[in-house]
Symmetry: C2
Subunit: 96 residues, 2 copies
Amino acid sequence: MADRNDDHTVFIGSKPFMNYVTGVVMQFTTQGANEVVIKSRGKFISRAVDVAEVAAKRFLEGNVVIRDIKVDSEEFENKEGRKVRVSSIEITLGKK
Amino acid sequence: MADRNDDHTVFIGSKPFMNYVTGVVMQFTTQGANEVVIKSRGKFISRAVDVAEVAAKRFLEGNVVIRDIKVDSEEFENKEGRKVRVSSIEITLGKK
């Protein structure tokens, strides 16, 4: 987990929306990233798409595009012993 | 909007989760679809991913895979005249 890409990953959670957008934009503009991976799980998946779209189409328009999108899910048992499946997404933004 | 694919599109909204999963599975099993496109917008994007994952990995395991994922967004003015960007997703499931 120490390869170059991990330095340019943004995990989306419940912080204010613009924190994440700024985080992504700064990776490209001040951290020299060529690619930034936006990751999230469960209900935050919608938000990850919002962050990617706002970063790519408003703040970095013309310079950055969505290169790849992967979804996955894992099943585990919750406290009541019921099987629960939680989805996840990884959106890769890259410099044009 | 009348090409073959539109017959095999499932729009994800606020109905019970399993309605959508069943809808997707039935397209493959009883409607003879080779591809089904799952579409949603805004906060329902997370749900679209859940539906795709549950359909592909539980109900149609080994037979259907996620072939393509596209995201997009459109900006419009809300009632207060503020610009709002709404994201959307299209997940294409296809027979192996």
